[in-house]
Amino acid sequence: MKDKEHDEAGAARTEFDELRRVAELVDSVGHEEPPATLVSDVMQRVATRPSPRQTRPVLAVLPGGFTMTRKVLVGVSVAAAIVLAVFVFRGYPPVKGGAEGAVGAAKRYQAAQIDSQDVVLGDASAQQFMQSDEFARLLKDKAAMKLLTDPAIQLAFRDTSIITAMQTPEFIELLRVNGIKSLSDVNVGTALKSDQFIEALRSQAFIHALDNAEVNAALENHDIEAALKVTAFTDALAGLKLGATLQGKGVRCDACLMAISNKEFLGLIQNASFVALIQNSNAFAALTNVAFVNAVADNRIADALSSEVLSTALRNHGFVMMMQDTRFADALQTGLSHLQQ
């Protein structure tokens, strides 16, 4: 019997060694470098193709693979307020062990069973926020609720640079000073969608130009402002005073010159809080981020941000944590399923 076991173990070992040798042999074949022109060949062919556009019925994919289809989203939008109200007024689902148990201590009311997939947000500040009057106000604010259940906005909240920019004093000031319409402003929206403006924003020369007193003085000069509105003038911009001012200071940036010659930019540059915003390094980083530009150029987001209660919430760390936690979105889905049963 022992001999048989010994033989079997020996055979297994032999096979194992043989397979390991095979794996080594396969690895020894190694990788080969692709043709040097492969990437450029692909990009050359792609250049003639129309830009792809989102065609899937999926509106948002959240980290962790949670997906909202349009149909579910509609249901979630309707049910979200009710579900969140349940959380607030009846308490959160019971916590199932682990460090996240801190959540349980924060609950205000006796917990009610919602579903097996409980809301267990790991960040204590998020829990505190959900217990706050501020959160209760959010639930009653239609614009805010619309935003909270909008998948595009949920995605935007998961982008750190967007959150960082939205929390800058300049951004909040921009919302405050210009009333609630600043981001809905046609000029702002158009400029943010303008490639040349974004290109200019990415340029250090542009930022240096904004820091340059002479350039600022030139921009504030009514004659120049008026002149910039004349197409013939802007066409010849590089040869005139403003262009000379920029170039005289060593600023060489065609995109800057193009940007300052467009009317959307003029609309923006007269807005002191916007200028302050782009001089803030966090906000600047965000403004050169395509996702951020798309987010703030989206009228729905602009409208939602115009909600006072939401802009207050935005300054709350707990709120941001809550929005960044995919389980919060999961909870909406769970709550919806629960309500539909």
């Binding site: 096979e15 043989e18 397979l19 040798r21 095979v22 794996a23 042999l25 396969v26 690895d27 020894s28 074949v29 190694g30 990788h31 080969e32 470098e33 692709p34 043709p35 492969l38 990437v39 060949d41 692909v42 990009m43 062919r45 792609v46 250049a47 193709r49 830009s51 792809p52 556009r53 989102q54 065609t55 899937r56 999926v58 994919v61 980290p63 693979g65 997906t67 395509v290 996702a291 798309n294």
Partner: protein
């Protein structure tokens, strides 16, 4: 390791869909080596591998709007690539894969050792090409695309258990092929 973070791929895909074509160049740059090597081991020809890889990227660009971001970009484009490789073979009447050109010699080895090593590598390459497609894919994804079992599972569309089983059988078959080949020499 060829494959980079999923989150970065997802961000690049979003950027491309937002109109930023340069982001697609970044995606191509990230994945073309792995995909080319996969195609090379599936077709056995550098030219066919380059054509299939190029075609796969172009199709990926054209259909990026239908890409489901719940899955890895590599898994998605890998499937496109496999179809391209099959299409190429079909177009050419499923002729047997041609042997590959010899890989550049290893400068550290002597002439005889080098010849022996080259011959061995050539035998292994040939043996891989004679494996049935499912087993060949398992070997290629594991050894040339350097995917984990989970990543292979997503790319091949089969459970991890099946991936492991296929890989084991593929290596057994390779061992048998190489044994037979050595006996015949």
């Amino acid at each position: 390791v060829y494959l980079l973070q999923d989150a970065d791929d997802a961000a690049l895909v979003r950027d491309v869909l937002a109109g930023n074509r340069q982001a697609f160049a970044e995606l191509v740059e990230r994945h073309h080596r792995a995909l080319f090597n996969v195609a090379l081991r599936l077709t056995g020809s550098r030219d066919e591998a380059a054509d299939a890889t190029q075609e796969a990227f172009v199709k990926a660009f054209e259909h990026l709007g239908s890409y489901d971001a719940r899955y890895r970009f590599f898994s998605w484009i890998y499937r496109i690539l496999v179809n391209e490789c099959l299409n190429l073979r079909r177009a050419q009447g499923m002729r047997p894969a041609a042997p590959l050109d010899a890989v550049p010699p290893d400068g550290s080895a002597g002439p005889l050792e080098r010849m022996d090593a080259d011959a061995t590598r050539e035998r292994v390459r040939h043996a891989i090409l004679t494996l049935p497609p499912d087993y060949r894919q398992a070997i290629v994804l594991r050894h040339f695309a350097e995917l984990s079992y989970e990543e292979m599972s997503a790319a091949m569309g089969v459970p991890v258990k099946t991936v492991k089983s296929r890989l084991h059988t593929a290596r057994q078959r390779l061992a048998a092929l190489l044994r037979d080949e050595a006996r015949d020499r």
